[in-house]
Amino acid sequence: MSEYLIKNGFVFDPVQGIKGDKADIAVKDGKIVKSSEISSKAKTIDAKGKSVMAGAVEIHAHIAGPKVNEGRNYRPEEKLFGYTPKKTGSRMAGGFSIPTTFKTGYEYARMGYTTAMEAAMPPLYARHVHEEIKDTPIIDEGAYPVFGNNWFVLEYLKNKEIENVAAYIAWLLTETKGYAVKIVNPGGTEAWGWGLNCISIHDPVPYFDVTPAQIVQGLLEANEYLGLPHSIHVHTNNLGNPGNYETTLDTFKLAEGYKAKNKFGREQVLHHTHVQFHSYGGDNWGNFESKSKEIMEYVNKHDNITIDLGQVTLDETTTMTADGPFEHHLTELNHLKWANVDVELETAAGIVPYIYSPNIKVCGIQWAIGLELALLAKDPMRTFITTDHPNAGPFTRYPRVMKWLMSEKARKDQIDAFKYSDKVVAATHLASLDRELTMYELAQMTRAGPAKALGLAHLYGGLKPGMDADIAIYDLNPEKPATPDEIEAAFSRARYVMKSGTPVVVDGEIVSHGNKRTLWVNAKVNENPQVVRDIKDKFLRYYSVNQANYKVANHFVPNPYIIEVDATQ
């Protein structure tokens, strides 16, 4: 296989602690190697005056599966502009907040992202998720099956049967070729089966008589019992409501006293996603305000928790979540078209378009809160940049988010552009924060941090010999100050991107579909006849498909990267 030498770039690599020093990166057979290990035939890539980082890792985005596709199909209006034609080596590609699968792969790659996780896979629809992943070029992907409203989980946790939950998780990960344990509005989405919800973590789930707190804690324990590469990945109750930061803190506290148990170097036991949507004070939209300080004070003090932002980008977008009752609530607020799917025994999902307008006070406050979370973070290895794509904005806006985080001036310009700047400033802390993230911190928040939290630090997020050769080169010279717009432009179109040693982007253009892989976790547990019986019974009586037709066959995952976990003892 080919050899490469990326010469003379300014390297930012949190894994090796390199903070912008000039260094050469050597690549051989898809991996990063010591410069001494490549021959003179290696192709040289000149990165002089440019910044070199590992490929970025997306920890939470909705990019493949039934609700994403419903979003595409029910919003033809989204594709009127910006469709790009087929070229040699690439397919036609369109869509903005819900791009086609081809566009998804191309856009991530162009920004220097080489891995992305689909954040919510309904198990019954896993086959669909994998069909889309298969059609998403270049980037490695995994998907998180949702567990927080699953009847097996609710029934086992009512009686605190952690081993049974663990056996069920292991079974479902294998059946669906899933990556991690996702929890969305625990209990609340099952309640939505009757048009109800669980607002606090102590609201019992109708009929099942178990609380969201018990669900989160039980799944956390089962996750650590198994020693999965990622921790539980939580979107807690009460999303989007004024005053919800207390629910968020209550949820964080469920992790107190737990330590991560796994062989992957992961240290957190709970990842909370899109925390922006969960950091609200006030008790109505009039006195709505930021509680980012309270939230980050807690996060900073507790190193067994990681978070991602869910940064609002001030665009027209399409919201979609397994939080069914939330989407119903949203359509009542904005009266835009509402799609919903309740999924038997497992989950639900809703979709509503949304316009984050700079002319609306609440949107401005939401925008500020997301940035505050990042700027108040003491440990950039535990706070990750996301837009909860497409919920707070499309992932294609990451370069803009990076600009805001790296430039106080860019933030000030945006605040001044709000219709209600004064009110936004009064309800938030952002105007008083002068921190500007460094390239190194950015690499922590988008590369090394998420890779470690996913238990993938051995593959992704750094440029150490032995790691995958996922590399991005940007037109940013740390010795010359860049304007905010130059920052955004540089991160929008990487000069050069390599995925597993294959050049995929050159001068901002796609040159190859690469050799994308699907990551999934194969967890082994001791034989558990009760769980086997329960599964059989539920399929016979309550599912609408036969058990034999549930499993995602291997041919849906043509190029798998399987992570083995052994929890037998």
Binding site: T100, G193, W194, D342, V343, S544
Partner: protein, 437 residues
């Protein structure tokens, strides 16, 4: 000795039953018996066995007779036709696998074709309505486990989706519905006194084409506002009563079919039905679902969706995907004479399209890919016989509630017969060569 294949998926209607048992001969070549399927489903399996099946491509001759040709020649003819054409129509895709659809789309993208599926004459109006107002829905298992109010509007599952009621909607005992049909109230809205209507607790035998009015009246009744004495031929007392019945349930669903999608008002009927469903969610839990016909028309919309962003009527002729039903829909294109070649796979427009469209197909270079001899293969210049998807080859399919189920292979296709996917893959390869030349 025979052997039995279990958990077989029925490749006929959108109910996509996955519990069939098919008994095959020891050599795995012939189907002996089919269990659990309804009559039409079983017929599909037995039909694969019918004697006199065409097993090689056939080219129509000037005198109307057919000449057998090789698959190589068929691939060449198809690839040449598509590559030369300025604006070919590639229609059907509803009775084949997602894998085959995907290869078809790759061809279409290269040659600049219009890709359209059978929704164009069926639930296309539903897709438009969803684009207007969204859709609150659920999986069929939710109906089985929770639903106590069932409406069949403009559809007749007794005949079109025979096992729908026994598997999902009326009879099964689910988690919260352990008394089966005794837990459920069934309303049928249909101008005809169908076999489904005969089973209903309430049958609204409405005046033909007045669906929109009755849907609106129900929305009025939910708000307890004033109605005229009769709407669509239904006395207002009955409408208030029905509104009361719907809101008093715990979980309801409207299933609707062609009786309301292709009659007067078309997509506006569905808009109104969806808005009624949305209104009902102010009172209780309510869903709505289209009774999709072909077993994988839903899958065609899905694959088109993730690859191009639109569920049908996808025009790739300008080098990027466009969507404008009415302009980019098969019948409109055919009747306006805008397409110069027709490729059909996984549908029978010869039987389902208006005669004016079928005439146009017969005048154009055309290829029909189908296991059977059909009215379409009879007008097409080239008929390419293929294996039956779901019988002789597997592949992914989407049920009417969008749940994906991987169909199984139960017997071998006749010696030398290609599958849809194999044939398309060869055409794709040849088209690539021609386009690059």
């Amino acid at each position: 000795m025979t052997k039995s294949v279990t958990d077989v998926i029925c490749p006929f209607c959108g109910t996509l039953c996955d519990d069939l048992e098919v008994v095959v001969s020891d050599d795995g070549k012939t189907i002996v018996d089919v269990y659990n399927a309804c009559a039409i489903g079983a017929e599909k399996f037995m039909h694969a066995q019918a004697s006199g099946r065409v097993t090689r491509p056939r080219m129509q001759q000037p005198d109307g007779s057919y000449k057998e040709v090789s698959y190589d020649e068929a691939v060449e003819y198809t690839a040449q036709m598509l590559a030369k054409s300025k604006k070919p129509l590639m229609y059907g895709w509803s009775s084949t696998s997602c894998e085959a659809q995907s290869v078809g789309h790759e061809i279409a993208e290269q040659v600049g074709a219009i890709v359209d599926n059978t929704a164009t004459v069926c639930h296309g109006t539903t897709l438009l309505a969803v684009q207007d107002v969204g859709i609150p829905s659920c999986t069929l298992g939710e109906v089985k486990n929770r639903a106590d109010r069932i409406i069949f509007w403009g559809c007749n599952p007794c005949h079109a989706h025979p096992r729908h009621m026994s598997r999902y909607s009326i009879f099964p005992r689910g988690f919260f519905t352990n008394k089966g049909h005794k837990n459920r109230k069934m309303i049928v809205v249909d101008p005809r006194n169908t076999d489904t209507a005969k089973m209903a607790d309430i049958h609204f035998q409405i005046e033909q084409g007045r669906d929109y009015e009755l849907l609106s009246a129900l929305r009025v009744a939910l708000r307890k506002e004033v109605l005229p004495d009769t709407v669509a031929g239904v006395p207002k007392e009955k409408i208030y009563e029905a509104a009361e019945l719907l809101t008093s349930g715990r979980f309801g669903i409207i299933f609707f079919g062609m009786g309301v999608t292709q009659t007067l008002s078309k997509n506006h009927n569905i808009d109104e039905a969806i808005m009624l469903t949305k209104d009902l969610n102010e009172f209780t839990k309510f869903s709505i679902m289209a009774m999709r016909g072909h077993y994988n028309v839903t899958g065609s919309g899905q694959v088109l969706g993730w690859q191009f962003g639109y569920p049908f009527c996808v025009d790739l002729s300008r080098g990027f995907a466009r969507y404008n039903p009415g302009e980019t829909s098969s019948n409109d294109l055919l009747r306006r004479g805008e397409v110069d070649a027709v490729f059909v796979l996984g549908s029978d427009p010869g039987a389902h399209f208006p005669i004016s469209s079928v005439k146009k197909i017969s005048e154009l270079p055309s290829v029909a890919v189908d296991p059977h001899i059909t009215p379409t293969t009879e007008v097409a210049k080239l008929h390419v016989p293929v294996a039956f998807v779901g019988v002789e080859v597997g592949g992914n399919c989407y049920r009417m509630d969008n749940v994906p189920i991987d169909a199984r292979k139960v017997v071998d296709p006749p010696e030398g017969v290609l599958t849809d996917e194999e044939f398309l893959t060869r055409v794709n390869k040849r088209v690539k060569e021609l386009m690059e030349a």
